[in-house]
């Protein structure tokens, strides 16, 4: 975990796949975030109810025992302000069950790119993509316009 330096926030990464957690950690720590990992929903709820301060939750949707969405609902009853990024290889499944996400929730398709994950977390945190203010990649265009009211350059 990154420590003793200015942090952009602490992210709890919940995924039953160790390699995906390790990848998210590498990317997020490189982006200045501190990272805590949980291998399943129960562990994540324990961490949230414990003393750890968590700013954001990155949740895999498809986990055994407790699905990511169920876990997020439990966590948001404890921390209504918790911002949640759902990471899923099956986004259609998420929207089939919930056509609209709540405020403070977003999703990222898996596999994600390094830039994609950092921008998703930045958007969730601040509502805008931190510098460099370059045109967003094609997949971001719709959200970019929604957030900024401007056309991508």
């Amino acid at each position: 975990m990154a420590s003793n330096r200015t942090s952009r926030g602490t992210v709890l990464v919940v995924d039953d796949e160790q390699g995906v957690r390790a990848l998210a950690r590498r990317i997020l720590e490189g982006g200045g975030y501190q990272v805590i990992e949980a291998g399943h929903g129960g562990e994540a709820v324990e961490i949230i109810t414990g003393s750890a301060h968590i700013d954001f939750l990155i949740a895999d949707l498809d986990m055994p025992v407790m699905r990511g969405e169920e876990m997020a609902v439990k966590i948001r009853t404890l921390r209504p302000d918790m911002r949640v990024l759902y990471v899923t290889a099956h986004s259609e499944q998420l929207f089939k069950e919930r056509p609209e996400l709540l405020d403070g929730e977003a999703f990222l398709d898996k596999p994600f790119t390094v830039r994609g994950l950092l921008e998703a977390v930045s958007l969730l945190k601040t509502g805008f993509i931190k510098a460099p203010p370059a045109p967003p990649p094609a997949g971001f265009a719709r959200l970019w316009r929604t957030l900024t009211g401007a056309k991508p350059r």
Partner: protein, 75 residues
């Protein structure tokens, strides 16, 4: 292709790991590093394998509901 969805999910996870770590390596290796072409081969092979799987997800981040965040285009 008719593959068990659970296996597809597992394969996507494994390919996500290969793609992600190879992308990190490509970002970190110097342009003239001797290992760069090898890592690029790994990355491209994983991309190709991913394309063979059914219901390939788009690499995009979006919200299903417009947000009214007071946003700017950076700072």
């Amino acid at each position: 292709m008719n593959i068990d969805p659970v296996k597809v999910h597992h394969l996507k996870n494994q390919l996500a790991i290969i793609l992600g770590f190879s992308e990190l390596l490509l970002e970190e290796l110097a342009a003239d590093d001797a290992h760069r072409p090898d890592v690029l081969q790994i990355h491209q092979a994983a991309k190709s394998a991913l394309a063979e799987l059914p219901a390939l997800p788009a690499h995009e981040f979006s919200s299903p509901r417009p947000r009214s965040a007071e946003a700017t285009d950076g700072q």
